[in-house]
Amino acid sequence: MGAQRPDRGRDKASVVVRGVSRVFPGDLRALDRISLEIHAGEFFTLLGPSGCGKTTLLRLLAGLEVPDAGEVEIGGRAMAGVPAHRRSVNTVFQSYALFPHRNVRQNIAFGLEMQRVSPAAIARQVDEIAELIDIGALLERPVDALSGGQRQRVALARALVNEPAVLLLDEPLSALDAGLRSRLQVDLKRLQQRLGMTFVFVTHDQEEAMVMSDRIAVLDEGRIAQVGSPQAIYERPEDVFVARFMGHENLLAVTRHDAGGVETALGRFEGGFAAGTHLLLRPEALTLHADAPPGSSGNGFLARVEECLYRGAATDYRLRCGEVPIAARVTNAGRSQPGVGDTIWVEVAPDSAATLNARRHTG
C-alpha cells in the first residue's frame, strides 16, 4: 500500500551491512562479503573505480536488489523482506530515472503524492526544495526539455524532498560544471547537517569524496579496501590500491626494512617505519632546495626537474631521480622556484613518509 508515511526524516538512521555478497550470473562477484557500519546522521562516501560495486551496494540498501548472502539493517531494523517502497530510503539515481510523462514539479512531488501528503503541503515543499537547489524556474517544464545537469538537480530534488532517514546519492554531481558542482557540494553538505539525514554518497572523484565526507569507504572489486576519515585515507592509505586511487604517485618499493629505517631505490630513509612493501612520499610534504640544507636529516635525494605545472596556488613538479619519477607540490609563496633542468635536493620531512602494503585483496 505504501499509503502511510514511513518514518520521516530527521529521525536519522544508522545503516549496518553485515557480510553482504551479491553475485551476478557468470560468477561475477559485484560485492564480496562487505561489512560496513554507517552512523546515524553521517555523511558517508563510497569511493572506487568504475565497476567496483558502488551502485550495487546502494541498490541493496534501497531494496532494489536482494543480497545473496549477509544482511542489511537500517535504523536498527533488519531489512530482509522489506520491499523498497516501505523503506524510508530514497535514491538519487546515477541515470536520473525521471518520469518523462511528468513535468519537473510532478516529478519532485511523486514521493510525497505516494505518501498521501496533502496537495497544499506538497506544493509548498516542492517550492522550498526547488528554491534550495536553484531549479525554481524549471518547475513547469517537461523533463525532456532539460539539460543533463538540470535533470540531475531534479533527480536530487525528487529524492531530497521526502527527507528520508537515509538518502542514497549515486554520483549526483557528475554532470555539473565545476562551479555549480563545488557550490552544490557545499550546499549538500550543509543541508545534510541541517536535516541530520544519513547520506550515503557515491563518487569516483577522490577530491569530491574528501571535501564532503565524514568518512569514506574505498571499494576495490567488490571488497572494502579501507574505511576512515578523509585525512586518514589520504595520509595513511593502507595499501597501494588506495594510495593510487587517492592520487598518490610516489610509491617506492621497499628493498630492506629494519628498526632504523627502510631502503629504497632512492636510498635509505631513516625513521621508525612499520613493515610494508612500499614507501609513500606525499607530494606536498616534499620540500625542494638548491642544495642539501644545513642540518638536514639526511632523508632526501638529488633529482632533476623535468616539468613545472603552475596551478595558481601551488606548482606541481615532475622530478626524476635516476629512473624513478617523483611528483612534488610546492605552495607558491613568492619565493624563487627551481626551473626545468635544474638539479635540486628533495628533502623528505620525517612525518611525510609512510610504509604501506601491496594491494591487500588481490591474490
Binding site: 500500500m1 523498497a84 530515472a97 518520469f99 505516494m114 517537461p142 521526502n162
Partner: protein
C-alpha cells in the same frame, strides 16, 4: 528567390506522390461516398437525383411500415460488441505481451510468431473453424450445456458469444504486437524510481508502467476497435443473424438489398462514430499519460 524556389520544388517533389495517393484513394472515394449518401433511389433501387436525406431517414428506422428501431439497435450493438471485444483483447494481450517481453531473447520471436501465424490464413477459414468448435454436439458445446450456459442441443454457435470470441481471436495479434514493442522498450529505471519513491505495486503499474505502454495500448486499440466496428465476416458467419453489426448493414445495402444511398449513409455514420471514438480515446490517453499528448 532561387533558394525559395528550389525549396518549394523540393517540397513538392517529396510531398506530391503521397498527397496524390491520398487524393485518389482516400479523398475522392470519400467524397463519392458522401455524395451517394445524399442521393435518393429510383424504382429499381439505384441511386438517383434529386438530393435528399431519404437514406438517413431510412437508416434511422423510418420505412414504408412506419418507424422500427432495428437499425438503431444494430448501431448500439456494434458499439457494445466493439467495446466488449476491445476490452477483452486488452485484458488478454497486455499480460501476454508482458510475458513474451520477459522471456529469454531467443524465445521471443517464436512466441510472437505463434501469436501472428493464425492471422495469415483467411478470416473466413478461421471463423469456420470456430463454427466447427462451437456447433451443437461438440465437446465445448456439451460442456456449455452441462454448465447451464446454453440450452440443450443448441450449441454455442450461432450466438453473440461466438461473435465476441471470433472478434477477440481475430484481433488479438494487432494488440499484442504494439504492446510487445512498448514492453520491450520499457525503461526499467522508472519502475525502480517509483518503487524507491514509496509507490506500491499497483501505483508502480499506474505511474511507471502504464504511461510507458500507453502509446502501444492506444495504437493497439485503434488497430483493433476500428476494424472490429466495421467487421461483417465474423458476425455473418458466427452470429447467424443474432449479432449483426453496422458493417453487415452496410454490406447488405451494397449487395443483396442494393440500396446504395442507404449503404453510403451507414458508412458515413460509421466514419463519424469512428472519429468520435478516436477523440474519446485521445482524451483518455491524455488523462492517463499525465497531460502528455499520446499520438495515435
Amino acid at each position: 528567390m532561387t533558394r525559395l524556389r528550389r525549396d518549394s520544388l523540393h517540397l513538392l517533389g517529396t510531398v506530391a506522390p503521397g498527397a496524390l495517393c491520398i487524393l485518389v484513394f482516400l479523398v475522392a472515394p470519400s467524397i463519392y461516398l458522401m455524395g451517394m449518401a445524399f442521393l435518393s433511389t429510383d424504382a429499381t433501387g439505384l441511386p438517383a437525383l434529386p438530393l435528399s436525406v431519404q437514406a438517413f431517414r431510412e437508416l434511422a428506422g423510418f420505412g414504408f411500415l412506419g418507424w422500427s428501431p432495428g437499425n438503431l439497435y444494430t448501431l448500439l450493438r456494434s458499439l457494445w460488441q466493439t467495446l466488449l471485444a476491445t476490452v477483452l483483447v486488452i485484458l488478454i494481450a497486455y499480460p501476454a505481451a508482458y510475458y513474451i517481453s520477459i522471456r529469454p531473447a531467443r524465445w521471443r520471436p517464436v512466441l510472437l510468431l505463434a501469436v501472428v501465424v493464425p492471422s495469415w490464413t483467411n478470416q473466413v477459414i478461421r471463423s469456420v473453424g470456430w463454427m466447427n468448435l462451437f456447433a451443437p454436439g461438440t465437446p465445448i458445446s456439451d460442456l456449455a450445456v452441462l454448465l447451464g450456459i446454453t440450452e440443450p442441443r443448441m450449441g454455442l454457435f450461432p450466438s453473440q458469444f461466438a461473435v465476441i470470441v471470433g472478434l477477440v481471436y481475430n484481433f488479438l495479434p494487432f494488440m499484442v504486437l504494439p504492446l510487445y514493442a512498448a514492453f520491450e522498450r520499457l525503461d526499467h529505471a522508472q519502475v525502480e524510481a517509483a518503487r524507491d519513491l514509496f509507490a506500491s505495486p499497483l501505483a508502480v503499474f499506474r505511474h511507471a508502467v502504464l504511461p510507458q505502454t500507453l502509446p502501444g495500448l492506444m495504437a493497439g486499440t485503434v488497430l483493433v476497435a476500428i476494424p472490429a466496428f466495421g467487421m461483417y465476416v465474423v458476425t455473418e458467419l458466427l452470429g447467424g443473424g443474432k449479432a449483426t453489426m453496422i458493417g453487415n448493414l452496410v454490406a447488405q445495402q451494397f449487395a443483396a438489398a442494393s440500396n446504395w444511398p442507404l449503404g453510403a449513409a451507414g458508412a458515413l455514420i460509421m466514419i463519424l462514430a469512428t472519429l468520435l471514438g478516436l477523440w474519446v480515446l485521445r482524451r483518455l490517453g491524455r488523462r492517463l499519460g499525465g497531460d502528455r499528448e499520446v499520438v495515435i
